[in-house]
Amino acid sequence: MSKNMTGAKMVVKALKDQGVDTIFGYPGGAVLPIYDEIFLQTDIKHVLVRHEQGAVHAAEGYARSTGKPGVVLVTSGPGATNAVTGITDALMDSVPLVVLTGQVPTFMIGNDAFQEADTVGITRPCTKHNWLIKDTDKLSETIHQAFQVAITGRPGPVLIDIPKDVQFATGTYKSKSETPKIHYNPIVKGDTTDITRLAELIENAEKPIIYSGGGVINSGIGASQLLCELAEATNFPVTSTLMGLGAYPAAGKNWLGMLGMHGTYEANLTMHGCDLMINIGARFDDRITGRVQDFSPGSKKVHIDIDPSSINKVIHVDLPIIGDVGHILEDLMKIWKARGRKTNSQSIDKWWNQINKWKKTNCLSYTPSKKTIKPQYALERLEFLTKKHDRYVCTEVGQHQMWAAQFLGFDAPNRWMTSGGLGTMGYGFPASIGVQMAHPKSLVINVAGEASWLMNMQEMGTASQYNLPVKQFILNNERLGMVRQWQELLHGERYSSSWSESLPDFVKLAEAFGWKGICVDDPKDIDDAIMEMINYDGPVLFDCLVEKHENCFPMIPSGAPHNEMLLGNASTEDAISTSGAVLV
């Protein structure tokens, strides 16, 4: 077969070479030649979204539920700018994406041409790397290199801007194997001396904790298994960030629940009081640390991360180990076993006694109601009725997201898709479409708030078109719940613009798109309604009318350390000082 072909053909061929089976996109003038080539083949399935932001979030859902990079194809100008939120989201959460954008022809760049935008300029700070292709001969190798960059080291989004004349022109195709590797080559093996030092710390720790993050999941299934092995063999307690849920199973005996601003009492107090903190693939985000000066004051801190710029960025650590979590945990287990599998088990038993006392606080308890559906109750029932299923869960951003993290249990990685770093309302619904594309037979649920969900509701058409049976589980409190909670705690109960007015009738909305709509407002009906949702073969819009003024607890108020948690409404008065109020 001839290696000479048009740029447009090269794009499709390079994607096939990379093993891509699904792309998410939206056509427009500057990508028409590529859409022509997509039309002429059947190996790659193109999912037509309804807005480019939806395409990027769908690709993120695809990527995070499969471990493979997600691929997006959009046009120039507005196509590219609409994708920016999703690309930034992927950068913050280290999701591997390859975004292909059309561009006006090279000879018109800089002319303020129709649908021209400086796409590489706009996306430079929100991609791992990006390229503008000016020569068709460079196109295929750049695409292969882009995949290399997206998945190597700390994963992230990359973007290739392809002018229309480059798509039409003919050039020579380079296959994946013919493409020279670029020099970008982050360290994956950890330093053996440092890992041995960590083994020593493990042997001597009296009050240890493992604080794991999204890096464990990005490192692959093997890293999650090694994390479990480490926890079981040492009997160390495990907590995780929002991004890392599922790496250590929620059913595991050492699991303390999520940590941080809305994490569990036992996880945060264990972090605060520990003498050895092993951070595995997390980044000391401000949602985790609270007031940094008082963050875990008495501990030796170990930080395993593939990104050297994460080390000492927020918290000064005693032992940084740069490399891939999977490689480092493998070496750690070898070294620790070879040294005799020692731990200070008596002290650790005592530590567990203390932790079990903290657990008795039962920090996730809430006041039940027979009249209204408490959002926590809805999620407890959802968990009970769906946990045996082959289940994937996405969320939007807000109170419902935190409750989902608290009340749903994940026993495997890649089952939980949420916008952590950027906190993008509107993430969950398109992400659930991407997940369902990758896992057509699985139960895919998006736990949403009504306000977040409306932000990308246009994707209903996408789910209908591709027969995607996504379940949109909306905890509808007719409020921007988390905003309302902060206004209650911080802004004198002045609820400025934080209620959802003029909401649609969600059941009718569902029907308008050929979906099933279910509305439930009585706690005694919720089990039947959830079963109806699960058993329906098609997309469902589940409008769960919940208590309107429920607050999400526990909560570490901004500007407070881990040992000053708020456990319920009674403890909230004057909890946040004026200087804490300036923080987000």
């Binding site: 503008l132 080291g153 990104d307 200087s579 804490g580 300036v582």
Partner: protein, 185 residues
């Protein structure tokens, strides 16, 4: 943060670390960064500094290896030791960056800057400007009836000192290249 009226280092209520865990001393460092000479690479480096609020005192860039398409960017930056470490790590993880050297801490290095000075004057002032230029070993690269243009190469401090010297002697304009530097072997 001043607009929010939070005193640096006293924010026991802040969730953010306003204090450095090492030292609050502001240091000046010269970084030598070897990059692919590809489109947008300078914008990428500058964007890192502006996006994360780091300082650039001076920055020079030019291709030094034409066949390998490599450029050297020399950046003089200021910050606390912690910020300097962060800058180096952020630069080091950029895809087109090959190498980051902190010439301030990695043993002896040679630093040079070139500057051009336009000095206007007549009579005794003009003669004095020429005498000063000789002391500083500045070269005359252009001259009119009432002006000299001097070229001076040296450490930035020398250029600062020469500028101070020329100021009362009719200094009109200065153009400076910014620092270039190499590690000594």
């Amino acid at each position: 943060m001043s607009a929010l009226n939070i005193k640096q280092g006293t924010s026991s209520q802040s969730a953010y670390d306003l204090r450095s865990s090492h030292s609050d001393n502001i240091e000046t460092h010269t970084l030598a960064v070897v990059v692919d000479n590809e489109a947008g690479v300078l914008a990428r480096v500058i964007g890192l500094f502006s996006g994360r609020g780091y300082n650039i005192e001076s920055l020079t860039v030019a291709e030094f290896d034409h066949e390998g398409h490599r450029s050297r960017i020399t950046i003089v930056t200021t910050g606390t030791p912690r910020v300097i470490e962060q800058i180096k790590a952020e630069l080091g993880r950029m895809v087109p960056v090959y190498q980051v050297n902190d010439l301030t801490v990695e043993g002896p290095s040679v630093e040079r800057e070139l500057a051009i000075f336009k000095v206007m004057g007549l009579g005794e002032i003009r003669a004095e400007a020429m005498r000063a230029a000789e002391i500083y070993r500045a070269k005359v690269v252009d001259s009119t009836i009432d002006s000299y243009t001097f070229e001076l190469t040296g450490k930035s401090t020398k250029i600062d000192a020469f500028a101070e010297m020329m100021r009362p002697l009719g200094l009109k304009e200065i153009a400076r290249t910014g620092v270039i530097a190499l590690k000594r072997e």
